[in-house]
Structures are given as C-alpha cells and as structure tokens.
Symmetry: C2
DNA sequence: AGAAATCCTTGATGTAGATCAATCCTGATG
DNA sequence: CATCAGGATTGATCTACATCAAGGATTTCT
C-alpha cells in the first residue's frame, strides 16, 4: 500500500534552512511570505503531561509541533478516553475557521510549539494560496492516517494493535533521525502504557501484557521501561496484520 | 459539542440552482468557473452492491455523490473489513494528486456520481483557489467525522455503537429531506446488517441482536427490514454515550 | 407456484480482553 | 538512606462480543 510510504516521505523532508524550521506551513522554503509568517509567530513550551487546551475551550491560535509529541483525545462523560491524533514534530494543530478546540490537546513529552495567532494566520492564508494548498495536503495525509487507525481500532487484535503502534512510532522516529535500518531499530517510547492504551482502544493492563508477550518472544527488547529496540523490523511487521509489502523507507 | 452541529449545517445547504447540483465542488453557486467545471463533468451510475473501484486500482477521476450512498472500506489479507468512509449526496471521492484508490469504494444503494477526470480537475484547482478552499473545508469536516468515528470504534459498547449509527443516519437524512422533527423521525436504512457491522467494527449477528433489543425496548420501530422510525429521538440520543447537548438541527 | 438467492434473526457456546486487586520497579525527595 | 509516588507488571476472575449453527422472511428467477 502507498500510505505507509507516504507518511515516511512526509516526515523525511528536511526544512532546516526554512525560517520556521519545519514544513507544517511552508511548503517549499523559498517564498518570501515566510518572512511575514516569521513576524507573527511565537513559541510556547509544555511539560510532559501538561494540557495545552481542553475540548471546548477557546483557542485563538494555530500551531505546529517543533519538538516533542502532543496528542489529541476525546473524552466521554463517564471518563472513557480515546486518542484521535498523535502529533509529531512538524504536525499542525488547530482548525482555521474554528474558534474552540474540538479535542483535548496534551503534551505527551516535553514539547515546544510554534504558534500563530489565528486571525493573522487566516489573513495570510487568504493572501498566499501556497499555505492553503499545503494545509490541504497535510489534512489529506491526516485523514488517511485516521482511516488506517480506524481499521486498527475496529478490527485488529490486541497483539496486532501493539505491533502496529510500535512500527508506526519506529518508522516516524527513524525517518526523523534519519538513523535508518540495518535490520535493527531502536528508540524511546514517547508514550506511557496508559497513553498507549488510549491510542489503541485497550486497557493499560492489556497493553502491558501484550508488551510482555512480545518481549518474551524476542520480537522486541526493552531497556528500562521506555527504551525499545526492534531486532528484526520485518518480523514485527508480520504481527501487525497489515499488507506485507509496506515499503519501509522506500 | 460543535461537531454534530457542523455536519448538519453542511448537509443542509441547498444548492439546487448550481449547475453541478451539489456543494462538493462549488462553494457559493455564483462564480462562472462553474461553467468550466460543467464542461468537464460526466455522470456514472452504479447499482446497489456494485464496486466502484478496488483499493490499489488506478483511478483517473474524482467524483462527488449525486444520489445514493457509497462507502469506503479497507480489507485485511484474511478478509476482515472495516468501513472508513460513508459518503452521502454531495460528498467528495478521490484524492487530488493520487493516482490510485487507497480504499474499496462500493455503492451501498443505487448511486449516481458526478465525475471529473483528474487531470482537468487538478488544472482547475490551480486556477481557482475557491475549489481548493472548499476542498480543505470538506476534508477538515471529514477528519472530524473520522475522529468521532474513532471514539465509537475504540470505546463504545455495541449498543452505543448502534444507537450512534442510527442517529447519524437519521440526522443526515433529516437534513437532506428537510423533513425534520416533531419528536418522531422516520427513514430507510441504506445499509444491510453486514454493512452496519463493517461500519461499527462488530459482527452482523451482534448488530442484529442489538437492533432487536432496541426494538423490544421501544427505542426504535421497524417496518419490514429496512424502514425505521425513531419515536423519541432524544431518548435514543441518550443511548449513544455522546454528550447530551448535541444540538439537533440547531 | 416452486426453487433459489439474499438477508435477517435467534440460540448455544467459546474466548479475548476487561475488571479487580496485589505487588514491583525506579527515580525523586526529605 | 529510607520513604514515597507514579508508572509498570502480573494474577484471578468476569463478561461482552465473537463464533458456530440452524432456521425464517422476502424477493427474484424459472
């Protein structure tokens, strides 16, 4: 399938000499509208676990993640929670034209965001079609990711869910650091067991048990609670239930 | 929450004197680029159950549903299927800039689509920012819907899932026909039990059983297998697990 | 009208994952 | 160094939903 490949290309893109330093808003790193953007941006930092906005709260900015990881979640009245977005560096937050947040936004790790006040940002969008196009592209990517996620939530077993999540994180992480593969892959899990369970629609106990099983079977190796190495990525991929072609770093 | 309201506004919009006859592409029904669109469009019809494209097949057009209902689904190698999109009249199909379909597209009922060959359509998009903006708006709506759907798949019980699906269809249907409420609501279910199960991440047996339970409890009334009336919409809403405010037809 | 598809319902039984409940790390704090 | 707190693990048990299996109701074809 092409989707896996797509998300990799997306995160691979290096934007280091763009003044905003990430591709969320600037598609090509060349136009000089960027300077105008530069003028209306500001940074905010959040600690791991901190809430950025609650669902329903007013939100007068849009933002993009610079470093760290943020999540979007929905909560039911009785407290059941489902994560609906996992935002990595360069991902975009907020919907132009909407005044309040539809989701709880939480910093999963220490996080820095690059914010733009909504009004000036929307003005810019009108003037520079570039940005709207970029946003459309990113939104379509997110929609594809959401649909893959729906398959996971609706049809995969607990084991497949865990394997899928690990490969998703490993892939994104690998492409960010460009520290790709020689079969083996290693990274820090940015999510607690609880956050994983909210991503996967499971309980944290089930997550823990399945992680243990994968460890016992040698599909993953753990150092401490958070550092994971995947000795054989393809073998783990087989456990995800996804089409095998997958195309890692193609 | 605002989302429910959003989707209603979306489907309420009457576009009857627009040459394309639906809001998927024309935002305002006023510009004369519409005439150009008019020139590159063509219609296709599908019978209930017919497949429009398979995942992975090349797809040289984008389209929008004129009448009927289409679905997007993903299939795993072993045959497990999850619906990931439910397309009603005026909804858009296909991703500009992608040559193949990422999903199985199926006609759930007899369906007519208004198609545009991809290349000319993309050319038009470049020339008329209008269309890109409209598409961004629609994609953001779809993303919100997908996220609501993720909550359903990940955290709701079978009963809540069924109640949610019924209210979703009732709402969209009501807003299309503008045949709103006096407490009671009535419509034809456009989905088989199997399609419902694919939407909800359940088996068709569980869907059937839960429908029976809701019927016995008087929350729904059925005539034949497909026609449903909801005597008290608010009472059904309470079974969805969603926030109660909801705002039906606000 | 009879046969044959479809689609739907209902029952009996099995099981993956939830729930309830201890216990264990590991790094922080006084 | 002892204590403590926030994760994480592991066990015992329960249950919602899946699975397997057998009819029933409608529509379509011959």
């Amino acid at each position: 399938m092409t989707r896996a490949t797509t998300s990799i290309k997306t995160y691979n893109q290096d934007c280091s000499d763009c003044p905003i330093r990430h591709r969320a808003v600037c598609a090509r790193c060349e136009s000089d509208e960027l300077e105008r953007l530069e003028q209306i941006k500001y940074y905010r930092s959040f600690e791991a676990g901190q809430t950025v906005v609650w669902a329903g709260d007013s939100m007068d900015f849009v933002a993009s993640v610079v470093t760290g990881i943020a999540t979007l979640s929905q909560t039911m009245e009785d407290g059941r929670r489902q994560m609906v977005g996992l935002l990595l560096p360069s991902d975009f937050i907020g919907r132009p034209g909407r005044a309040t947040s539809a989701y709880d936004v939480t910093a999963a790790t220490d996080t820095v965001m690059c914010c733009f006040r909504k009004k000036p940002f929307e003005d810019m969008m009108l003037k520079t079609p570039h940005i709207g196009q970029r946003l459309l592209e990113m939104t379509l990517d997110e929609l594809d990711a959401a649909r893959e996620w729906m398959l996971l939530l609706g049809r995969k077993t607990a084991r497949e869910k865990i394997a899928s999540l690990l490969t998703i994180i490993a892939r994104r992480d690998a492409s960010l650091q460009l520290s790709a593969a020689d079969g083996e892959l290693s990274f820090d899990l940015p999510l607690t067991r609880e956050a994983m369970s909210e991503y996967l629609g499971l309980t944290l106990e089930t997550v823990s048990r399945q992680m243990s099983t994968l460890r016992k079977e040698g599909l993953i190796v753990t150092e401490g609670k958070r550092h994971i190495t995947i000795p054989d990525f393809d073998r783990l991929l087989e456990e995800t239930g996804d089409d095998s072609d997958g195309g890692f770093l193609v």
